[in-house]
Amino acid sequence: MRSAISFILDEKIVDLDFKNFKEFSPTSTVLNYLRSLPTHKGVKEGCAEGDCGACTVVLAELVDNKITYRAVDSCLIFLPMIHGKQLITVENLKTPEGKLHPVQQSMIELYGSQCGFCTPGIIMSMFALYKNNNKPTREQIDNALTGNLCRCTGYRPIVEAAEKSCVHNCVDHFSNNEPQIMKLLKSISKESIHIQTHNQRYFRPASLGEAISLKHQHPETIIIGGATDIALRVTKSHELLKEIIDLSGIEELKNIVATESSIIIGSGVSMDDIIPKVKKDFSALYEMLSVFGAKQIRNLATLGGNLGSASPIGDVIPVLMAYNASVVLESLNGRREIPLNDFIVGYRKTVRKSDELITSILIPKPTSGSIVKSYKVSKRKELDISTLSAGFRLELDKNKVKLITLAYGGMAEITKRATKTEQFLIGKDWKRNVVEEAIQYINKDFNPISDVRGSAEFRKIAAKNLLFKFYIEGRNVI
């Protein structure tokens, strides 16, 4: 058991012991830590909520004995979360001889910076792209850069800089240095971390068993996976989080198991890691995850965290409901599987008992005859929380509706199925005039509110239209 954390910065191991480290607490963010150093002022704070990307850094870690590079928002990461990883900032991109990295060079040549404040973050996102995609497609570039807001350039030169620079087979001076970094990474102990300061306790268990017993001992403790939601309580509301169990160090929660009939996704798998695994068999989930937050968020956020927070909008919850997914909960008393439909019971309330952890999500493969689709309506298509979202599923028997699931987010205090509409449709012909009649039942199912993301009227119309859209799009499939 350790009370200190270790990570690599500037190619050296940094040990931080919170006991004799007064300036920072275990819930201090990586951003604030970096900015306190005279040598890492390049990382910028733009919003402190993971919506602008000015604070983007890259975390390198060992996965299957290889180093992976991921762009993340440093404003949302608590310091203990980078234990055992390499923290790479914009200051590290030049070669030891002082030569600029290809992404830096092309950003200069193509006038990719104007005021320059977003630039270090953009450079880091582009660096992660460089390390992961040789000759990336426009879609991959967009994907890598969506989480970086720039108010000056209009992005075109930035996209071109990515196109121009990411062409060297992902090789750069970091590649040469990998053996050395791997050695350092391996030298960092993987054991559990328990940090106790005068007013906080932070646990970072190394195994699931340990996490479950910790949860048993501290049932009211806050659980974090990627912390993208919980971190806001620190960065935006300046709350003191007294006790935290951080699951991000548990390898057992990071597995994805695909079977003949289903896929089981560990609750600690990042959203971005799920995407390629569901592309083939769960296209509606794939679509929804692709527009979930931005790369930097998806690299941190976990499915377990998303379900645990039970947001009423919860972009992915409706589509998981349509897939008839179940949540697997574990505690010292055993394991149980709850259909997602029954999991959420109120505004940000679930049936999870205080000593239970979400350990995985089980999604059965839809039967061959069924169609599943997901929809998201938001002011801005990318990097925006839905005004409303939906996950629909349909199975027909001789063009009569045999099974229908119409799950909506953003229409009530919880993500909810349109049961009256569903009932109306069951057994009926799946045709335009029937669907047009059915959508009138949406009004009976939901009484949405007006808020900052949209008026009740807009939500009602859009909710109806989505069902109709499902019909129109389904026509081509059936």
């Binding site: 200051e91 950003m107 209009g154 859009a462």
Partner: protein, 777 residues
């Protein structure tokens, strides 16, 4: 000379080495400042108690208005903005108290202990309420030509309507920040992220009750400005200076993003009423406009902004009979302020709405109506305020873009697409921009510079403009190098500093390069004249029989030579050593004031603008009529930049301005609740464009081979603001797509921004209308 010079800070930007105020290393004496602001939109402070807050360990001072040694005023033009509230609270976000403490945490702790007793009062939170309660911020203004009422009566067709355009948050990436370091006696050194260092200096002097020569304001760079740091950076600077003055320690205030969004003003929202009279062909004879803007709780620059609206209400069109009435309304919201376009966008969106409606009414393509009503080349070329539209490039640009954008063909394709698709509709629009260049407050059209040449042949340029990303310093660097005939790496542009170049105007109104470039050139001309004279003399001392004359001396390729005697040649660096030995001053101030302009504000007549900048854009969109979501498929832009000093930087201004305009027209929506709280106070709810919101096909071109005839610096043209308004093409393309839902038979209800909600609700109205019509039949 090579014009492809990268941004002078580009290396600093990409390596993270460029220093912004929050990055300046300060010793451990630094205190963190925090502004405590009101939570009521309108209230009277009955009492307050700071004693508990002051007791917090680590808190150095907690200040209220009584602690201000000088004037409690920071309004830039009209003195109606207290630095710290006394009794009256007029908006949520108004500063009341200041805290300086050793850490941010201590500041927050102290803030919680401040007790305030308020008496809440009724607040005015919308334009409609302000109008209803006659809450004017100042007297209305009017500009007129002809008799619009008579003309409207005799017009064959008349259309009336209303347009609402929304507010816009600047969303500079670097929030408002200031660092003050105390000097000797009253001296104070201010590092401010301000577009207007002189005004920052002035206000700090007034607030602290000290002299202006005791305040030095320095601006290395801003992390974006867009107008948001023209007047409102002064606020943070005054607050920081107050804390620094009392504690005698360095103090920094950096606004947290949400606080920045809550406390600072935005682009003005407008309600415009219009009436237009025209004939069967769409030739417009009369337009009557009434602009109502939401000024917020204090004046700020609202009247200058409204003036620019009035001066751009014509956009590119000759309207024989025109009347423009303008009213600025007072509400209980943060004082609204300058933002790129400065009232121009609201004026142009209104006129473009008129044009679009006329076209739809007459069932003609809007471009036909536009071209018909363009200002003429030789006649129909006088604006409603009396300035002649000279060097009109509308027709050239129109002809070129029509071709390059393949307008006619695409119009046909879109029409076919819309016939074939029930659930997706496409729209296309081509809109022009004619933007007047100069501050309309004429005396502001002046700039200064200080150029130092050192004896190693390097140059340090100081000028009064500020760098906020627009590439001003890069252009100044180029100008200095070109004028001295030396390579660019010998020229460095200094941080803007009020002790180097005093009494400057804001870097605003797109005028930064025009004016400061000329001032830099003026300083260089003076130095070159001294050098030429001295060199001629030096050469003549050696050979009296073949005299060198100063006017023949040329500065080129890092050398200086006599064109009459090419053997008389000296390297620039050597020459500077010689000059120093021969006691020649190698430093000079430079100055410039814009010639030929003059504007009578009272009569609303004259020549407010040195010249006009022209541009056009054609945009195509597709909307999903079931969700209201839109995709920007293609935008073509052709912008007149004269002889560009740096084409890549100008391109960056065009694209960046355009995309910022697209944000204003589409996803950027500001909402307040019924108490006056800003609901969209972070990027979680306020949506500026991302990389995925730019046109799928984006083709931007600069006009070529058309130097600015009016004698600007190197015959270039201003570029900062005009492209913003090209985004109106996207907005009207969306309207065109909505209109297609009703086969262009029903005029869509439309406002700005066209969010997915606006689009969907407009479509819904068209659908309902269609159903009703079927029922009637």
């Amino acid at each position: 000379m090579e014009t492809q010079i990268p941004h002078d800070s580009a290396i600093g930007h990409v390596t993270g080495e460029a220093i912004y105020i929050d990055d300046i290393l300060v010793n451990e004496q630094l205190l963190i400042g925090k502004v405590v602001y009101s939570q009521y939109a309108h209230a009277r402070i009955k009492s307050f108690d700071l004693s508990e807050a002051k007791k917090v360990n680590g808190v150095h001072v907690v200040l209220c208005y009584k602690d201000i040694p000088g004037h409690n005023q920071m309004g830039p033009v009209i003195k109606d903005e207290p630095v710290l509230a006394e009794q009256d609270i007029t908006f949520i976000g108004q500063a009341m108290f200041l805290i300086a403490a050793e850490t941010e945490e201590k500041c927050r702790e102290a803030e919680k202990l401040i007790k305030v007793e308020y008496e809440p009062l009724d607040a005015i939170l919308t334009l409609d309420e302000a109008i209803e309660k006659n809450s004017l911020l100042g007297p209305p203004r009017e500009m007129k030509r002809g008799d619009v009422d008579i003309a409207l009566k005799s017009s064959k067709h008349v259309l009336r309507g209303e347009l609402r355009t929304g507010a816009q948050e600047h969303w500079y990436l670097e929030t408002q920040t200031c660092l003050c370091v105390p000097g000797e006696g009253n001296e104070i050194n201010v590092f401010s992220s301000t577009q207007h260092p002189t005004e920052t200096q002035t206000l700090i002097a007034e607030v602290l009750g000290i002299k202006r020569n005791e305040v030095v304001v320095e601006v290395r760079r801003m992390g974006g400005g867009f107008g948001g740091k023209e007047t409102q950076a002064n606020h943070v600077a005054c607050w920081t200076a107050l804390l620094c003055n009392v504690t005698k320690r360095p103090v920094k205030i950096r606004l947290f993003r949400d606080d920045d969004m809550i406390m600072t003003g935005k682009r003005h929202r407008y309600l415009t009423k219009y009436e237009a009279g025209f004939d069967d062909e769409g030739l417009i004879d009369a337009v009557k406009l009434e602009f109502n803007s939401d000024g917020g709780a204090a004046t700020d620059l609202s009247f200058a902004i409204m003036e620019r609206t009035m001066l751009h209400a014509d956009n590119s069109y000759y309207i024989p009979n025109m009347s423009v009435t303008a009213l600025v309304w007072k509400t209980n919201l943060p004082p609204n302020t300058a933002m790129r376009g400065f009232g121009g966008p609201q004026g142009m969106a209104s006129m473009e709405t008129v044009i679009d409606r006329v076209a739809r009414y007459l069932k003609k393509d809007p471009i036909e109506i536009r071209r018909k009503n363009f200002y003429g080349l030789n006649d129909r070329n006088i604006t409603h305020y009396g300035q002649t539209v000279e060097n009109n490039r509308l027709y050239i640009i129109y002809d070129q873009i029509l071709k390059s954008a393949d307008y006619e063909k695409r119009r046909k394709e879109i029409s076919d697409f819309n016939t074939q698709n029930e659930f997706f509709k496409k729209g296309l629009a081509l809109t022009p921009v004619k933007f007047g260049i100069s501050f309309t407050t004429t005396f502001l059209n002046q700039a200064g510079a200080l150029v130092n040449v050192y004896t190693d042949g390097t140059i340090l340029v100081n000028h009064g403009g500020t760098e906020m990303g627009q590439g001003l310093n890069t252009k100044m660097q180029f100008i200095a190098a070109a004028e001295f005939g030396i390579s660019i790496d010998r020229v460095k542009v200094n941080a803007t500093n009020t002790s180097k170049v005093p009494n400057t105007s804001a870097t605003a109104a797109s005028s930064g390069s025009d004016m400061n470039g000329m001032a830099v050139k003026n300083a260089i001309d003076i130095i070159k004249e001294r050098i030429s004279k001295e060199l001629a003399q030096l050469w003549n001392e050696k050979d009296v029989n073949h005299p060198s004359v100063p006017s023949s001396i040329i500065f080129k390729d890092n050398f200086i030579f006599d064109s009459d005697h090419p053997d008389r040649r000296i390297s620039f660096a050597n020459a500077m050593k010689q000059m120093n030995l021969r006691q020649v001053s190698l430093s000079s101030a430079g100055f410039y004031k814009t010639p030929t302009i003059g504007w009578d504000k009272i009569k609303g007549q004259g020549k407010p603008f040195f010249y006009y900048s022209f541009g056009m854009a054609a945009s195509e969109v597709m909307i999903d009529i079931l969700t209201g979501q839109y995709t920007l498929l293609r935008s073509d832009i052709l912008q007149d930049v004269g002889d560009s000093i740096n084409p890549e930087i100008d391109l960056g201004q065009i694209e960046g301005g355009f995309i910022q305009g697209v944000g204003w027209c589409t996803t950027e929506e500001i909402k307040w609740d019924t108490k006056g709280n800003l609901m969209t106070h972070s990027p979680d709810t306020y949506k500026i464009p991302t990389v995925q919101d730019i046109p799928k096909d984006f083709r931007v071109k600069l006009t070529e081979g058309v130097p600015n005839p009016v004698g600007t610096i190197r015959r270039s043209k201003a570029i900062g603001e005009p492209p913003f308004m090209l985004a109106i093409s996207v907005w009207l393309a969306i309207k065109d797509a909505i209109s297609a839902v009703g086969n262009h038979k029903i005029e869509p209800e439309f406002s700005l921004p066209a969010t997915n909600e606006t689009i969907l609700l407009s479509i819904e109205k068209i659908k309902t209308f269609k159903v009703l019509k079927t029922l009637k039949v």
